[in-house]
Amino acid sequence: MGMTITEKILAKASGNEKVVPGQIVVAKVDLAMIHDALGPLFYPNFRKLETPVWDPNKVFIVVDHAAPASTLSQAEWLSHNYDFVRDYKIPNFINNQGVAHQIIPEGGHILPGQIAVGTDSHTCTYGGLGAFSTGIGSTEMCNVLALGELWFRVPETIKVVITGKLPRRVMAKDIILKLLSMIGVDGATYKTLEFCGETVDEMSVDSRLTLCNMAIEAGAKNGICTPDEKTVKYLMDAGVKREDIEMLKSDDDAAYCQEIHIDVTDLEPHVAIPHSPANAVPVTEVEGTPLNQVLIGTCTNGRVEDFIAAAEIIKGHKIPNMMRCLIMPASNKIYAELARNGCMEIFAEAGCVLLNATCGACGGFHEGLLFKGEACLGTHNRNFKGRMGSPEAKIYLASPATAAASAITGVITDPRKI
């Protein structure tokens, strides 16, 4: 019996020839990501250990949640990050330059076959590059910073085979929303979601990052795509040498606990209705729902292709007076590219709100909180009750194309009709 890509990564990192689902292994960590909101929870304890950081070069501290601070308490927790970076001489400190889940992939900081952990549940995003990547708590990060390792239960893998050509204005986001509606918010708890099939082979690395970003919304430990030549090009563009990239894939006789097939040939744009990412329905079922805010961006859909799709729809239109259309690129690098390729001009002239690269309103921190009775459609990953402000607000999740179409009409709109 062969191994899946996830099993191969965990076997190598734990010094085992072979591992099987259910086995507990202690794996060496290649990258530890800490963000400003949850680092301060463990910094005091780490200081008590009076030990150096196991390998400062493998640690990334990213200020993206309260970026920049909007309240005094946020400003205080930021100061704890600055102190920690200074005291422990952390070389990789990313301060207000974008969301970690874009900074890490676009910088070529994580490679196929490596293990990444982060103090954020959406750390599973880096699986789009063929890494094993998962979210952990603050105390576990304290363990990683001291010892460079962490225990894992080798997960069972669900194989998600995606086939067919995506129709016009239907995006990777629609696929993952469709999958979530099929398996539910705990359909992959403790497990791996391995995305494969011709549609995944055809899609960009950015789209693969979108798929893996939302693996956690099914409860998954990690999401993963097989690295290929597109992965290699993406990483080489980020400055990685080809010889440093390990190509690995699941064996043909690897064991899966479940196999799910999705043919996207006739897939409609999907919208997750309140209050669960798994409540996805075809857009045609909710067309016309009035909105007060649209959010385009975040670590789920804040990449260049996402904004190109949105700009194509928004170009030449005006955002209605009672609508706020928030544009929030996932990193400054993306921001710069959008300035060069004309997207930012289109958004500005249409009357969008141009925000900095931050977690912002997605996490309910700042820059776009909702009042009771308001409705927001966003390209982010979570629409839990109360997440973006009032528990009496409604949050819908959709693709950048659906978000853009809805922004110019003020109601949920099928992007295929624009």
Binding site: I24, A37, L38, P40, L41, F42, N45, L49, T51, T71, S73, W77, G118, T119, D120, S121, T123, G135, I136, G137, S138, T139, E140, C142, N143, A146, L147, V185, D186, T189, Y190, G219, K221, S276, G363, G364, F365, L369, R382, F384, K385, G386, R387, G389, P391
Partner: protein, 172 residues
């Protein structure tokens, strides 16, 4: 702590998220007693008042889904929760619970079989839950020994120190 007996003081349904437990918009401090005050505010504003030291929290499926924020487990524990018994847990919450010394017991059937006010006895090693109020019993897969040990020493932190000491002895 092989056996614990206490009262169910709070009960929730399925998919209670970490946003429900500690919503970012209410967080002004990471201090346990402060996060306890905002715990569950959007879904049950009375939760901090209902929960008292030693109380048992019962929940449905996928308890603690969502983010990796450890404030969620800290808040639930600081509100007084001695143990959470749920149909199932989201994995990061489950790990975080044991890491800060809050046992999480996965027990299918617990939600429908239990009401607030019930007197419950948890036999950890036997994997048995006895409801003394109703005279019923349920079984669960006992918690792995390593995690059980973690609860006994108060969480993961003391073990990090232990491992560091062991490592430095080995290299000396």
């Amino acid at each position: 702590m092989n056996t614990y007996r206490g009262k169910v003081l709070s009960k929730f349904g399925d998919n209670i998220s970490t946003d429900d437990m500690t919503s970012a918009k209410y967080i002004t401090s990471h201090e346990p007693k402060e996060v306890a005050k905002i715990c569950m505010r959007d879904i049950d504003p009375e939760f901090p008042a209902k929960m008292a030291p030693g109380g048992i929290l019962v929940a449905g499926k996928n308890f603690g889904c969502g983010s990796s924020r450890e404030t969620a487990t800290i808040a639930v524990k600081a509100a007084g929760t001695q143990v959470v018994i749920a149909e199932s847990f989201a994995r990061i919450f489950y790990r975080n619970g044991f890491n800060i010394g809050l046992p999480c017991v996965e027990c299918p059937g617990i939600h429908d079989a239990t009401d607030v006010g019930d007197e419950i006895e948890i036999q950890y090693s036997e994997g048995k839950i006895i409801n003394h109020t109703k005279g019923t019993a349920l079984e669960f897969v006992p918690i792995p020994e390593s995690l059980f040990h973690q609860i006994e020493v108060g969480g993961l932190f003391p073990l990090i120190r232990e491992k560091l000491e062991k490592r430095s002895k080995n290299t000396n």
